[in-house]
Symmetry: C2
Subunit: 575 residues, 2 copies
Amino acid sequence: MGTESYTGKINRKMGKKLRIVEVAAGREKADLVLKNAAYVNVFSNEICHGDIAVAEGLIVGMGTYSGETEVDVAGRIVLPGFIDAHIHLESAMVSPQEFVKAVLPHGTTTVITDPHEIANVMGADGIEYMLQATEGLPVDVRFMLPSCVPSTPMDESGAVLDYRTIDSFYDHPRVQGLAEMMNYPGVIGADPQVIEKIVAAQAHHKKIDGHAPGLVGNDLNAYIAAGVYSDHECSDPADAIAKLERGQFIMIREGTAAHNLEALLPLLTEKYAERCMFCCDDKHPSDLLEKGHIDYNVREAIRRGVDPIVAVKVACHHAARYFLLNNRGAIAPGYLADFVVIDDFQQFHILQVFKKGVEMYDGKEVKGFQAPEIDPYLSNRAHDTFHVAHLTAVDFAERRPRGIIGMVPGEIVTEDQGYSDHIDVEWDVLKIAVIERHKKTRHIGIGYLQGYGLKRGAVATSVSHDSHNIIVVGANEEDMAAAANRIVENKGGIVVMEDGQVKGEVILSIAGIMSDDTLENVNHALEQAKEAAFRLGVSKEIDPFMTLSFMSLPVIPTLRLTTRGVIDVMTQQYI
Amino acid sequence: MGTESYTGKINRKMGKKLRIVEVAAGREKADLVLKNAAYVNVFSNEICHGDIAVAEGLIVGMGTYSGETEVDVAGRIVLPGFIDAHIHLESAMVSPQEFVKAVLPHGTTTVITDPHEIANVMGADGIEYMLQATEGLPVDVRFMLPSCVPSTPMDESGAVLDYRTIDSFYDHPRVQGLAEMMNYPGVIGADPQVIEKIVAAQAHHKKIDGHAPGLVGNDLNAYIAAGVYSDHECSDPADAIAKLERGQFIMIREGTAAHNLEALLPLLTEKYAERCMFCCDDKHPSDLLEKGHIDYNVREAIRRGVDPIVAVKVACHHAARYFLLNNRGAIAPGYLADFVVIDDFQQFHILQVFKKGVEMYDGKEVKGFQAPEIDPYLSNRAHDTFHVAHLTAVDFAERRPRGIIGMVPGEIVTEDQGYSDHIDVEWDVLKIAVIERHKKTRHIGIGYLQGYGLKRGAVATSVSHDSHNIIVVGANEEDMAAAANRIVENKGGIVVMEDGQVKGEVILSIAGIMSDDTLENVNHALEQAKEAAFRLGVSKEIDPFMTLSFMSLPVIPTLRLTTRGVIDVMTQQYI
């Protein structure tokens, strides 16, 4: 395309456009007609009836049409394809193409991803990897550029992204803006290095997503006036309304880690719904397989009394408007032929899913599609992100007193449980380490962990927020070393180790956070590894890997462990 | 600005942005604070209360603030500035700066203009003239590029605009898209020269406005599928809803020529209002002075029972969303400080108007502002658009039978009244001529006119849709020649002539359609000229100049007169 002239571009588009007009006017047959549809009209807020004609991947008209292919939907309900307004695709632990296979049966046809996780490992190359890995997929994957890599100056991430590093990505046709600006203190405090990221996004006429739980008053004004247009961190209506009435769009989040849908149902009324959309933020494999995706939110909202048309608009139209994806989120001429066919609003069984006029899910299976081509240099780089020297028990043999991080069942906050200078399995005091793995610095932060429950062996993971260093927790240093070494050997993932034997593992060799395998296989390995962890004593009240993965994130109170030691989040001091 | 580097641009914006954050957070004083405001919140659909703080021309926060300037609005209602979604500025017959002076007291802070009239005279130079003449004005004037110049192949206009001619204007920061695509038969019929204008606008990611009265069914599907996003020609709710439910935005038009507000009130309910905005299409001087502008629509809508908040949103927010003018149409952090202060919703007296935080109207007068600088070459060209040889009675001395165009009081449609071969004042059969005036072709179309009522002398105008040739109607050929010559001498305008004496005239020397004088003076001259026309016998049921100006538009039934003779609009044949 780089050699296409402007005239050439216009001519290319003319061919399609003239055919669209011929089909819409009824002079030529459509590529596809959904006959006898009852479709949600997001403009007139009602159910309309008729045929829906498709040509060149677009809806060209509703009324009476004939087509090369005709599908009689026999009065069933047709909805626009769903949009997830904010997700980190990496959270599904599979490649984007496997993710797409998993969400198509749930009616998702567009997702807005923030490649924050892989960017923490691979920097700009991580963003580029995800762009290439999503090119041409039958779910349209759009990007928001990571705004906070690393999350904090205490993090030892694989890359540091300033505004210039990400700037050239704004020219990519699938980049919609700057992702969640988590560093809200930096925005409110007018930190130039933070503000310039916003200014650059605006200079490219792009959106800027927010992340500011509980922010109020003039600080909230400052955050919004700086140019942050949305928030997905609201967990109560008052917080959401304070943001909404100052102009932010609200993404109602229902994911694996956070569940805000029920609390935010009061937003899904005529007064506020226009400014709301759905997102999941993160979706782990089992959650995707068992609950679904945005369809879950719609189904739940309707079950709890939300007007079905409002719920559907929140699931597609409003996100499309916010992200200026003006060709989707509605069933109307000129819109993408992305459809979800359901039986009725109460059961909400998804019977068929179409992407750009192609049936991608027939109620039983997902249609095959071509895998994206990834530049070999980039693919090799994504599979070679561990730069760690071989470890032995001696590397973990710290004898000075170190802080004890107290886990809280069902939460990701932690408590300060004092100090220890040795493992004490009887009192559930385990050793925990964070091993810098990007740049062979040999930095290993060591502390103690209480509340995890492990009795024997060690558990390690390279999914660790946000820098994805290796976190390992153990009842003995030998197994800690063995578990960490095994992760490096596997190029990433999760390992449960006992007496030098692998008891369970998940191989995540794309940047140490995603698998090349299918979602089902990853989920199976993950469940087996969980069982192995529980057999070694890990408390059943805890997700053995997800909870562990937050122990290194130095922005959530009270204590966290970085590659440099235990830190008090409130004072930002190493203890 | 052409020499500014990207880093320079970011730095320049940083200065403003950092100050905005400092003020919003309450660490620095605001430039302006409206204390104790009751403001319409377009997001939460309610009246909110508090101070509104402004810095760098933007709203930075609502709450409690102090400022260098504080204006206590004492609980009065503050609204976002109004937006006219579609106007031909030339219809006010004054320069843009005079237009701005006239509409600021009515709360207008943004207008979207289609320079269709001047483009018919001066082509691309006409568009450029209007861009220069609106630069930096205290009403933000945005442009849609004329899509149909000339209106029809029968027209002899001053220019022909194909997609390439207008293409470079899409890069201008105040150009929002392609203006009303009046040639809907060309779109539906897939005429490549019409479709390529749409394709080019879309290639620039711009909006395309529509104009398709009464279009229905698959033809309407084709028109919308082609890429036409709005319509302002709806005169009944069924027509509007058919378009709205297919995804078009509806501009509810209330102007000088067309009055659709009352008929379309059913749209101003929760079900439909989100997709509606206000426009006037055209506004003649007396109408602007007597009725007002978008404020008239809001006031009338409220008086007729529309929820005031809905009416206000239709007057500002929805147009901003449609045109992707994302920094206006709301009172919220980051939005332009464009305010209208009113007493209450019932009286709806406008007390103050602010543009970008500057009080431009204090309830009594409009604050002075600098006139835009217009390139001298372009200004000279705009004042030299008549290329017509001196005319004499002989030029109008046609003796063959010619069609009689029958005027219909109060309407712009005409009737076929047969033929005549001479003027017959007793039977109200006058001679009418259209004189090509752009290219010295000496083309003069001649016909007869019934229903105008003139008894003596002649009336001529260079405001004549859409090509703005000279239309002259007379009781004798000598006065017809004298009136036309006088218009050429004046470089454009309106002339009432009797026995070679000027009885009334309006000088419109900018492209023959706009005056350099003030709106009040133009209106005064216009009213005097009307009186003179009535004194010569013109029927009082007819606007002597506006009605005349439509006699050359060969798209409205039944008969029209072009520079080549009388045409039957239905058959498109000369009779």
